[in-house]
Symmetry: C2
Subunit: 71 residues, 2 copies
Amino acid sequence: MCEANVYMLDENGEKKLVMEAVDKIIPGTDEVFLENIFGERKTVKARIKEMALVDHKVLLQRVAAEENNAG
Amino acid sequence: MCEANVYMLDENGEKKLVMEAVDKIIPGTDEVFLENIFGERKTVKARIKEMALVDHKVLLQRVAAEENNAG
């Protein structure tokens, strides 16, 4: 199976696992919807920074409050 | 290997293959950078609409000229 682990990169440049075995990813304006192969769903305030599918890795970047207003 | 095929959804709702065997995907503001396992690279005027990793499918949506100015 080719699901990926999704990590969030925080302000300090540290990666934290958000969800593993993610199948579906749907980006919104300031958020990203995730669904994994177990049917778990999560929506996080972030945008996709980078995906490396062969490594099974998706990196998200947190959306800061100020950025939401910047248009 | 867990690379995906990347398709573009056009204004008529039709899917066209943009690149196959894509490993790296890096979204920008109005464009998406793609790199496949053969080292081919492409940047397309689009945003990510949906990803289904288990199906090896990434769907892009073309960014229309009007939308570029709306933000």
